[in-house]
C-alpha cells in the first residue's frame, strides 16, 4: 500500500495545494512511521476478518464476508478499517462513537463486550450487529476494537432476517439497544438467553457471535502489541498525524473538482400494480475543499423496508466519493471529515422510529450511490460510472432440513452488472458496490440447503448498450428438494432500468419467477401466489420440484452505443454477451452468422449507424 503515491488524476488548481496537502504532519511523524503504523492497524482489521471467516457458522460470514472490522481511539474516532463491506464503512464511523457517548466509557471494564443492532443508533439495518471491546494499556483505555456483521437470522416475521413486507421495525426481528454481551470476560447469560430464544437458528447465532468475539480478542492482543512498540502517547500522536494526512489528501482531491452545485434525483420502485415509488433528491455542493451531500427534499419515509438509516446514507455518500478519488487514501476518520451529509430525519434517507429499514442497506444504498455519482458526473464526467444493477437480489429461505431435522436459514445474494465507465465496460456478475460480498458457492449451497442449482449463467443482452457496455447480470434456476421451505425476497430494479450515462442505454431489469412442480411456465410470484408485489414478499411456501428463477439487473452503459468499436460488438456477439438482434438494433452493427462464425456487414453497418447518428440524442437512459 503506497500511502504517499499520488494519482495524476487529482490535479489541484495549483501546485501549492499539492505541496501543502501532501507534505509535513502536524506532529512531525515521518512518512515511514506513518506507513508502518497504518499498515499495522489495517493488518489488525484484516486479521479480525480472517478470524471471522474461519470461526463463523454461517456462510454470510464465512463465504460472503459481510462484515467490517475497525480500530478506534478512546473517543471513538476511527483509526483504521479493512475493506470488507463498504455498506458499513460510513456507519461504523458513527455507530461506535455514538455508542461510547451514550453508555459512557466509565461504564466499561476490561473484558466487557457491548452489542447492539439498533438502526436508529447508527446501524445500517437490524441484521447487522455491532460488538465493541475496549482495549486497555497500562490500566487505561487506549481505544476500541469493533466489528459490525450481518447475522443470518434475527427473528421477526420472516426467516433469514429480511422481513420483506415489514412496515415497522418491530416486525424486523429482535432489536437490541446497547447491552453488555460479556462482563469481565464472562457471559451475561440473560442477554444470551434472550437472543437464543428469539432467533430461529440459535445454533448459528451462537457460533457467529462467538466468531465476532474471537475477532475482538485477536484485535485486542494485536493492538496491545502495537502499543508495546510505540506507547499510548506515541501511538496517539502518530494516529493524529495519520488522520490529518488522510483529511488533507481528501481535501486536495475535492479541491480538484470544479466548484458548483450539482443536482440529481432518482427513485426506487416496488413491483406492485401499479408500481409504487420513493424519490431521492440530492444536491451536491462542492466549495473549495469541502463537499456537502444534501438530501433535503427527499420523500418522507414509507411503510416499507427500503428506508435508509443515517448510517446507510452516509455510507453511500462516502462509498461513491471514494470511488472517484485516489484508492490509496488511508481509510480513517480523517478521510470523511471534508464530507458533510445532510439527511433529514423522517425521510427515506434517515428513517426514525418506528420505520422499517432492512432493505435500505442492500437495495437503496446502491441507488443512493448511483445518485451521488449521477450528480458528480456533472463535475467529473471522466471519473463517474453509469448505474449498477443496484440490487442485492435478496432471496431468503428457511425450514427444517430433511437430512438433519435442524432448522436452517440462508440469506442469498446475487451479482449484478455494473455500469460502464469512461474507459471500460462495466464489470459482469459482481455484487452491488455496497457489498464487496462473494455469494455462496453452488457446492456449499447444495451441501447445506435443500436446493439444487439447475442453471447459473450470464444473461445475454442484460448490459446497457453504450460505447462502454454495461456489465452483464446473471440468471440462476434452483429446484426445491424438500417438502416444505419458506421463501422471501426483496429485489430492486424490477420496474426501472439501471440508468445509462451520456446517451447510453439502461441495463436489464431484474426478474424473480417460479415454476411450480408439474407445470411448464415460470410465473411471477403475484401470478403464482397472489403476492402484492413481485419484488417484495415474505413467507411463501414452496415444495418439492418447484423451481425459482432469479434474473438480476444489468449495468447501465456509458456513451453513445453506435460509437462502440464494431469489433468489440462482434466479440460480444461471439461471446454470447449480446445477441445479433441487439447488435443491430442498439449498436447499429449488422451481423451475419454462418456455421457459428459471426461476420459484420460493413456496408449495412455504416448505413445503420448513419441513421442512428441522424437521430442523435435519442437514447434509452432508463
Amino acid at each position: 500500500m503506497g500511502l504517499w503515491r499520488f494519482d495524476a488524476r487529482a490535479t489541484p488548481r495549483n501546485a501549492r495545494d499539492l505541496v501543502s496537502g501532501m507534505t509535513g504532519t502536524p506532529n512531525g511523524t515521518d512518512q515511514v512511521t506513518l506507513n508502518v503504523v497504518y499498515n499495522r492497524l489495517v493488518g489488525i482489521c484484516k486479521e479480525m476478518g480472517s478470524t471471522m471467516m474461519r470461526a463463523a457458522y454461517s456462510p454470510i460470514f464465512s463465504e460472503s464476508l459481510d462484515f467490517s472490522c475497525v480500530v478506534f481511539d478512546r473517543d471513538g474516532v476511527m483509526l483504521a478499517q479493512s475493506e470488507f463491506s463498504p455498506a458499513q464503512v460510513g456507519a461504523i464511523r458513527f455507530v461506535v462513537k455514538w455508542l461510547i457517548a451514550e453508555i459512557g466509557d466509565d461504564m466499561l471494564k476490561p473484558g466487557d463486550v457491548v452489542v447492539h443492532n439498533d438502526p436508529y443508533r447508527g446501524g445500517v439495518h437490524m441484521p447487522e450487529h455491532v460488538v465493541i471491546k475496549a482495549v486497555y494499556y497500562e490500566g487505561e483505555i487506549f481505544g476500541y476494537v469493533a466489528n459490525i456483521a450481518h447475522m443470518s437470522e434475527i427473528g421477526g416475521l420472516a426467516p433469514g432476517g429480511f422481513a420483506a413486507t415489514a412496515t415497522e421495525v418491530y416486525q424486523e426481528g429482535l432489536r437490541l439497544p446497547p447491552v453488555w454481551l460479556m462482563r469481565g470476560g464472562e457471559y451475561v447469560q440473560d442477554i444470551w438467553r434472550v437472543i437464543m430464544t428469539n432467533h430461529r437458528a440459535p445454533r448459528y447465532s451462537w457460533g457467529d457471535l462467538h466468531a465476532m468475539l474471537a475477532s475482538l480478542n485477536v484485535a485486542e492482543r494485536r493492538l496491545q502489541e502495537v502499543l508495546e512498540t510505540y506507547g499510548a502517547e506515541g501511538l496517539s500522536t502518530i494516529c493524529a498525524d495519520l488522520m490529518a494526512h488522510a483529511e488533507r489528501w481528501m481535501r486536495v482531491e475535492i479541491r480538484a473538482m470544479p466548484d458548483g452545485e450539482y443536482y440529481f434525483e432518482d427513485s426506487i420502485s416496488n413491483a406492485t400494480d401499479p408500481p409504487e415509488e420513493d424519490w431521492f433528491r440530492l444536491r451536491v455542493v462542492i466549495d473549495g475543499d469541502g463537499l456537502i451531500a444534501d438530501f433535503t427534499g427527499s420523500d418522507p419515509q414509507g411503510p416499507h423496508v427500503m428506508n435508509c438509516t443515517y448510517g446507510v446514507t452516509a455510507s453511500a455518500v462516502y462509498n461513491a466519493v471514494l470511488q472517484l478519488v485516489d484508492n490509496d487514501i488511508p481509510h480513517n476518520d480523517g478521510v470523511y471529515r471534508p464530507i458533510t451529509v445532510i439527511a433529514p430525519p423522517g425521510t427515506v434517507v434517515n428513517v426514525i422510529e418506528p420505520g422499517a429499514s432492512v432493505a435500505g442497506n442492500t437495495e437503496t444504498h446502491p441507488r443512493l450511490w448511483a445518485i451521488v455519482l449521477g450528480a458528480l458526473a456533472q463535475a467529473v464526467p471522466e471519473r463517474a460510472a453509469a448505474a449498477t444493477g443496484g440490487s442485492s437480489s435478496n432471496f431468503l429461505f428457511g425450514g427444517t432440513h430433511p437430512d438433519t431435522d435442524q432448522y436452517y436459514v440462508h440469506y442469498h445474494l446475487e451479482g449484478v452488472g455494473w455500469g460502464g465507465r469512461a474507459d471500460a465496460d462495466g464489470n459482469s456478475n459482481q455484487v452491488v458496490p455496497n457489498g464487496n460480498c462473494p455469494n455462496t458457492p453452488v457446492e456449499i449451497f447444495e451441501t447445506r440447503y435443500p436446493f439444487v442449482q439447475t442453471a447459473y449463467r450470464l444473461r445475454r443482452d442484460s448490459g446497457g448498450p453504450g460505447k462502454h457496455r454495461g456489465g452483464l447480470s446473471t440468471e440462476r434456476i434452483m429446484e426445491v428438494r424438500t417438502d416444505d421451505i419458506t421463501v422471501s425476497a426483496v429485489f430492486n430494479g424490477m420496474v426501472k432500468k439501471p440508468r445509462g450515462l451520456f446517451g447510453a442505454g439502461g441495463g436489464a431489469t431484474s426478474e424473480l419467477t417460479v415454476r411450480r412442480a408439474g407445470t411448464d411456465e415460470f410465473l411471477t410470484f403475484r401470478e403464482a401466489f397472489g403476492t402484492r408485489s413481485n419484488s417484495r414478499f415474505a413467507n411463501i411456501k414452496l415444495t418439492h420440484g418447484d423451481q425459482v428463477m432469479i434474473r438480476t439487473p444489468g449495468g447501465g452503459g456509458y456513451g453513445l452505443p453506435w460509437e462502440r468499436d464494431v469489433e468489440l460488438v462482434r466479440q460480444d456477439v461471439e461471446e454470447d454477451f449480446v445477441s445479433v438482434a441487439v447488435a443491430g438494433s442498439d449498436y447499429g452493427v449488422v451481423m451475419m452468422e454462418s456455421d457459428g462464425e459471426f461476420t459484420v456487414d460493413d456496408r449495412a453497418t455504416a448505413a445503420r449507424r448513419a441513421e442512428m447518428l441522424a437521430a442523435a440524442g435519442v437514447g434509452d437512459s432508463g
Binding site: 458513527f94 462513537k97 455514538w98 455508542l99 457517548a101 451514550e102 459512557g104 439498533d118 436508529y120 443508533r121 447508527g122 439497544p177 455542493v285 456537502i292 444534501d294 433535503t296 443515517y310 458533510t340 451529509v341 445532510i342 439527511a343 433529514p344 430525519p345 434517507v349 434517515n350 426514525i352 422510529e353
Partner: protein, 70 residues
C-alpha cells in the same frame, strides 16, 4: 426544520438525561445524525449535534430553504 418550534433560549450544551428504561433517540435538526448524549441548543431552541451544525443551518440551510430564501 419546523419554524413553529422555535423559542428563545440561552444557547449552549445540554446533557440528555433520560431514565434508564427510555431508549428512544433524537436527531440533529440540521444533519440528521443521532445525538447520543450532549445536545447543542441554539438560541431559537433548535437542537443540533454540534455548534458547526448550528452554523451550517444559518449559513447553508436557511438561505436555500428558509422563509427568506432567495
Amino acid at each position: 426544520m419546523n419554524e413553529g418550534e422555535k423559542k428563545a433560549v440561552v444557547p449552549g450544551w445540554r446533557k440528555l438525561n433520560w431514565p434508564w428504561w427510555d431508549t428512544h433517540v433524537i436527531n440533529c435538526q440540521m444533519c440528521g445524525q443521532m445525538i447520543p448524549r450532549d445536545v447543542w441548543v441554539a438560541e431559537d431552541g433548535l437542537e443540533f449535534c454540534t455548534e458547526e451544525c448550528d452554523g451550517l443551518y444559518r449559513t447553508y440551510w436557511l438561505p436555500r430553504y428558509g422563509p427568506n430564501r432567495k
